[in-house]
Amino acid sequence: MAKRHDFRYFFHEGLSNMFSHGFMSFAAIGITVACLLIMGTFTLVAVNANALLADLEQENEILAYVDDSYTEEQAKALQSQLEKVPNVASATYISKEEAMEDFKAQYPDEEMFQDLDPAILRDRFAIRMVDLKLQSQTVEKVKEVEGIAEVNAFEEIAGGFVTVRNVATVVCVALIAILFIVSVFIISNTIKLTTFDRREEIAIMRMVGATNGFIRWPFVYEGFMIGFLGAVISFFLQWALYEAVAQGVDTNDTLQLIRIIPFSQLWVPVAGVFAGAGILIGVGGSLSAIRKFLQV
């Protein structure tokens, strides 16, 4: 009595189990695909929102304008004070003249801007923060520094992205939990149907002395295949969906500043997570189906 794992036999049996309930298997694969796609989509949105936040943390600056009465020397001296403010990563001094050059460079075609007097602008510091989420507190602290007249921050943008990321994370976790349970439940029922179909064969196997393990394996394989097929299909659908959305964002003028992470950088973890989750759903479903069934 050989103890080796009869891979070919279990695979064959699992496959024919799957085809004996074409429609149910189709439904089970479908729900797995839905689960993985929703999970994948929300996760990818969260990942992109995170990347954007990181970008903003890099690029988004607070501008702190220096009081007009300060001389350039006095203004420059504020730098060390500003850098002592909590959450400030760096403060870079920009003089009126430099600011004017930047401004002109932004509007090279506007004649009337070209010979403006730098005196109408103020000296300023470009401040970078360690953590973008603490921006409003940091702005308050910077305002309190003596010699800073005004602070200009892009709060809405940063706040907006933080919100998107948080909402995406919460929705993602909740949806994944629900869909996971639903998928396991549906796969479990599909496999219960097969065990019911095969009850005669199971009775005979048990009668002639097949081990519980041997009787169970084909159903575990069936669940595995449903989960794995679901994962493969969702992967390609996810890919297509991602490329379509990326294309849409790319060609949309108002969304130009959003940088989408190319799928080529993401496909390995996406494939890994999909395969893992699909297999978990499938095998989990089959184990829950046969747990009760094999108690005699």
Binding site: M1, R4, Y9, E201, M205, R206, V208, G209
Partner: protein, 230 residues
């Protein structure tokens, strides 16, 4: 060897089917188990296969103590038995060959052994030509011979048959019983439940008579007791 000692068994609904049976069947024996309908014959078979558990007494089967057998050992115990039922219980969507291959595979037999063993067993039950037929294409007698082949194919120590001729006409019944005797002569212990008096009388084997959950007679030769059919 099969040994029952003071065995009692009660179904969940309170029916006391076995009320204290002590019985020993030696290796190589041929035993008829007879008695009226409802006397407990099938329950004894179920006790032997481990399908139901005794509520008192001890059961030993081919070296396994059924009363305190571990979950893991039950399959090993069952491999020493080949079971045959009145209703054949063949898998209809598998051919004769596949029905046999199926149970060999179920106990982990390698393909090579399967290919060697099945023709031999089919020859024994005289069904070599039906290897590729489906059960529904066979007569009742042929189907029961397939069931015997299936019981034999894993080379068990003991064959247990619960009314194997119940669905067959008298001639087929005689043929089938002769086949079981032949198998016994090849060295396998055979226990046959039946209530066909004529058949039992014909073979002059050991006959154990059950009534109301008791052994009421255990002797070699004919059928004891008149109120058989029910």
């Amino acid at each position: 060897m099969i040994r029952l000692k003071d065995v009692e068994m009660e179904y969940e609904n309170g029916t006391k089917a076995i009320k204290g049976i002590t019985l020993t069947i030696e290796d190589g024996e041929f035993v008829f188990l007879v008695g009226p309908s409802g006397s407990g014959k099938s329950t004894i078979i179920k006790l032997l296969t481990g399908e139901v558990e005794p509520c008192a007494g001890r059961i030993m089967i081919n070296g396994f103590s059924v009363s305190n057998i571990s979950e893991k050992q039950i399959p090993l115990m069952r491999r020493t038995l080949g079971v045959i039922f009145q209703d054949f219980r063949l898998i209809e969507k598998k051919t004769v060959y596949d029905n046999l291959a199926f149970v060999m595979r179920a106990v982990g037999a390698p393909q090579k052994e399967i290919r060697k063993r099945i023709p031999y067993v089919l020859h024994l039950v005289d069904l070599e030509k039906k290897a590729d037929s489906y059960p529904t294409e066979l007569s009742g007698g042929e189907q029961q011979r397939v069931a015997i082949a299936r019981a034999l194919v894993n080379n068990p120590n003991t064959i247990i048959a619960d009314e194997p001729t119940g669905n067959l006409d008298p001639e087929r019944s005689l043929e089938l019983m002769s086949l079981l005797v032949k198998i016994n002569e090849l060295g396998t212990t055979v226990v046959v439940v039946t209530h066909e008096k004529d058949l039992v009388d014909r073979f002059g084997k050991r006959v154990v008579t059950i009534d109301s959950g008791h052994v009421v007679n255990d002797s070699v030769g004919g059928y004891v007791g008149g109120h058989i059919h029910g």
